[in-house]
């Protein structure tokens, strides 16, 4: 049987790549259109909220005590209610997000790089890769994350460090021009996408089962990716002014297009977009793993691997269906945070309270 162990390093790197996923490209545009030049302040707000939610997740982790998350849910809520909850949760949260991420990748490639390719081809190839890697097990994904992490960081540095000379800090002024309301409004989207999805990290346990170690992993990865987001948002807003950023569809890609040094260090933006490919790959593999495990536990299958291909087929169709045009996409980005918060904030708090109540009742 294939082993399912992840070292702490691998877990951290996987989580960082997961959080860099879809949000990295789309977020500066949305933040700048709502909060204008204060977009970076909403990121700080988001990181604070994330740290608070991590405390809740750690509380749940402490209740778990080494039991896999899906078994714990069934123990907590009773067999049938737990199965129902797990079924709905797995289908409506990780699985849907996986289809959305897949569709994001397809949108990006067909808008910017290869407009004549049908999106189904991209979906099929990516799903093939994701299904295979999840089939091979978590250890394989962890090792792949370890190797590809450095490539991703190198490409990010290559793409975003040369922008520093052209950054104009005057594009960030005046600070707090419209007050704190737009900042909070903008932070909603960022909280939901990708930080609230940290609730899915509960499916992963650390080797010696200590909740503190798990908490450190999640905190480190959130801080790291948060700092990366902050940097990218700052750079995007200072190089292109907030007015320009809010009208671009893929602003972090566009900003790499503007690099031009001595007429030879230029025009390599497609190399930087490999970052996004890799990040979406790890995002999808985590989401696929989580939904497969949840569903396998609902139907009491011995092994989650048998569900991978059917889930892949359904995701292939779902990704083609989720939104028909760009206008629907923009609207659904505004509405998504409230849907995600149900699964990311309300559900964990309820689970934690229930677990606390049960523990007190047991004592």
């Amino acid at each position: 049987m294939r082993s399912e162990k992840l070292t702490i390093r691998q877990m951290t790197m996987w989580f960082i790549l997961y959080q860099l996923g879809s949000a990295f490209l789309v977020l500066p545009t949305h933040l700048a259109s709502v909060a204008k030049q204060d977009a970076w302040i909403s990121l700080l707000l988001v990181l604070t909220v994330q740290m608070m939610m991590i405390l809740v997740y750690t509380g749940i982790m402490k209740h778990l005590n080494g039991v896999p998350f899906e078994e714990y849910i069934q123990k907590l809520l009773g067999k049938w209610l737990g199965k129902l909850f797990l079924l709905l949760f797995s289908l409506m949260f990780p699985f849907l997000i996986m289809s959305l991420s897949l569709r994001d990748l397809g949108e990006y490639l067909t808008t910017v790089i290869m407009p004549e390719t049908p999106q189904e081809a991209i979906f099929a190839l990516m799903l093939g890769a994701v299904i295979y890697v999840v089939f091979c097990g978590v250890t394989t994904i962890g090792r792949a994350a370890e190797v590809l992490f450095f490539l991703v960081m190198a490409l990010l540095a290559l793409g975003y460090l040369p922008l520093l000379p052209t950054a104009k800090v005057s594009n960030l002024l005046p600070v707090f021009e419209f007050g704190w309301k737009p900042i909070v409004n903008a932070s909603f989207t960022n909280i939901a996408f990708p930080y609230i999805e940290s609730v899915l990290f509960l499916y992963f346990t650390v080797q010696d089962r200590k909740p503190e170690k798990w908490r450190n992993v999640v905190m480190k990865s959130s801080l790291y990716s948060g700092v990366l987001f902050l940097y990218v948002t700052l750079i995007v807003i200072t190089v292109l002014s907030p007015g320009v950023v809010s009208s671009l569809t893929f602003s972090s890609y566009f900003v790499v297009r503007t690099i031009s040094f001595s007429e030879f260090f230029e025009r390599f933006e497609v190399a930087v977009s490999v970052v996004w490919f890799i990040a979406i790959f790890f995002r999808m593999s985590l989401l696929m793993y989580v939904s497969a495990r949840g569903l396998a536990s609902v139907f009491q299958l011995g092994n989650y691997r048998s569900l991978l291909i059917p889930l892949g087929v359904i995701a292939y169709v779902l990704a083609g269906v989720v939104w028909p045009n760009t206008a629907v996409l923009v609207t659904s980005y505004r509405i998504w945070p409230f849907y995600a918060m149900i699964f990311g904030i309300i559900c964990p708090i309820l689970i934690w309270i229930l677990g606390q109540v049960k523990k007190n009742a047991a004592n």
Binding site: T111, V112, I113, M114, P115, E116, T117, P118, A121, L125, S170, L173, P174, E177, V239, L240, S241, G243, V244, S247, F254, R257, T258, S260, E266, R267
Partner: protein, 399 residues
């Protein structure tokens, strides 16, 4: 047996991967695309006339026969919109136009007067176009004529235009190379208006489009980057002369190095000041509810030519010359701001943005009517703190 099947499976996987990685769906073979180097947009007969200059790859090699075929080819087409015109060009050209390496876009004066937002919408929206080309406006001629022009220095005319623009921007202040990213930023901000450089053709144009242009040392016609065009919103409202353009470049911190003459304080000749370092600090303030801007110029310069009589090694003469240079710079800047203010009312210097950054509350009231406020109510003062440093290889003129 197992090892053999494994090797067979690995080889099969590798073959499949190679087949999948060729990216066949969106393939563009190199001999099916033409790399567009420059694009010209004209307005003719109520339609856009697009001219593209592409390079002929066979003429770019070293063993080519000079004078047989032109290294650059120009295609033109007319259509109500630019995207249509570009696709229509395929009815005349054997390849599809590839816009990623475009260096310069030339707009007609008609197009600039009607508004550049519509032509530029395509250039911003298309996925092939990169935001690193420059834009100029053709004065007194059409963009098509400029693209069809034969240039003496470079093989490809578009590269000649592009390089000349870049070199001129660094060496001569009245030229300002307008990058697309700057144009986008200035269009979205309320407090600053974009500008465009102008280009014109002097000499015998008809002969300039033939190879005869470069067959003798003196070209029969040549191009010339002239002043800076002031835009209000997205339309050209007027042109600045050389002195005002220089003032504009100084105030917007675009001067890398420039040269200007100053009258001698004591005699009739001129001396030339070469500025190599220039920084302008703009401080906005509000006096009596009206906007007030203080422009402080600090520059360092050398003496490039000296036709005066006084002795350059004396400290007093030097400070007299420095004072004369400062007066001259102050006059240039003041005239520039006054002319733009009174004639056009377009804030190309970006004073509005400084008010936006420092007085956001007041800016909300001024935002919509800033051109008016700029034209009628803005007062300014110019403080020049330049220094003259060196005199070159010789101190006094040799006589």
């Amino acid at each position: 047996m197992n090892v053999l099947t494994r090797i067979g499976a690995v080889i099969m996987a590798m073959i499949m991967l190679v087949m999948l990685l060729t990216g066949c769906w969106n393939r563009r073979e190199l001999n099916a695309i033409s790399v567009v180097l420059a694009m010209g947009i004209d307005w003719v007969d109520k339609q856009y006339q697009i001219s593209v200059q592409v390079s002929d790859p066979s003429q770019m090699s070293i063993n080519r026969s000079v004078g047989e075929r032109s290294p650059a080819i120009v295609f033109t087409e007319r259509a109500p919109t630019i995207f249509e015109a570009l696709r229509k060009i395929t009815t005349k050209a054997s390849r599809r136009m590839y816009l990623s390496h475009m260096r310069i876009v030339i707009l007609d004066e008609e197009v600039a007067k009607r508004g550049i937002r519509n032509p530029l919408d395509f250039l911003f929206r298309d996925h092939e176009v990169r935001p690193d080309f420059h834009m100029v406006v053709a004065r007194g001629c059409s963009a098509k004529e400029i693209l069809s022009f034969v240039t003496p220095m470079e093989v490809l005319p578009a590269m000649d235009l592009y390089k000349s623009l870049k070199v001129s921007e660094r060496a001569w202040a009245p030229t300002s190379a307008v990058n697309v990213v700057d144009m986008m930023q200035k269009s979205t901000k309320d407090g600053i208006e974009p500008v465009l450089t102008g280009i014109t053709l002097v000499g015998n144009r008809k002969k300039g489009m033939k190879m005869d242009n470069i067959k003798q040392p003196r070209s029969l016609a040549e191009y010339n980057y002239t002043g800076i065009g002031v835009m209000l919103d997205d339309r050209i409202v007027g042109w600045l002369n050389e002195s005002d353009s220089k003032g504009y470049s100084f105030i917007t911190n675009n001067v890398h190095s420039t040269v200007g003459h100053v009258a001698c304080p004591d005699s009739k000749g001129n001396f030339v000041v070469e500025v190599y370092n220039s920084k302008v600090k703009i401080t906005p303030s509000i006096r009596n509810g009206k906007p007030f801007v203080s422009v402080e110029l600090r520059s360092e310069a050398n003496i490039g030519e000296y036709h005066c009589q006084a002795d350059l090694t004396e400290i007093q003469v030097f400070s007299q010359l420095q004072q004369a240079a400062r007066e001259e710079q102050k006059k240039v800047l003041e005239n520039s701001i006054i002319h733009v203010q009174k004639r056009f009312g377009a804030d190309i210097f970006g004073f509005g943005e400084y008010f936006h950054m420092k007085y956001p509350g007041q800016w909300q009231a001024w935002k919509k009517i800033w051109p008016d406020v700029f034209q009628n109510e803005l007062k300014f003062e110019v403080i020049v703190k330049s220094e003259l440093r060196k005199t070159g290889k010789i101190t006094n003129s040799v006589h």
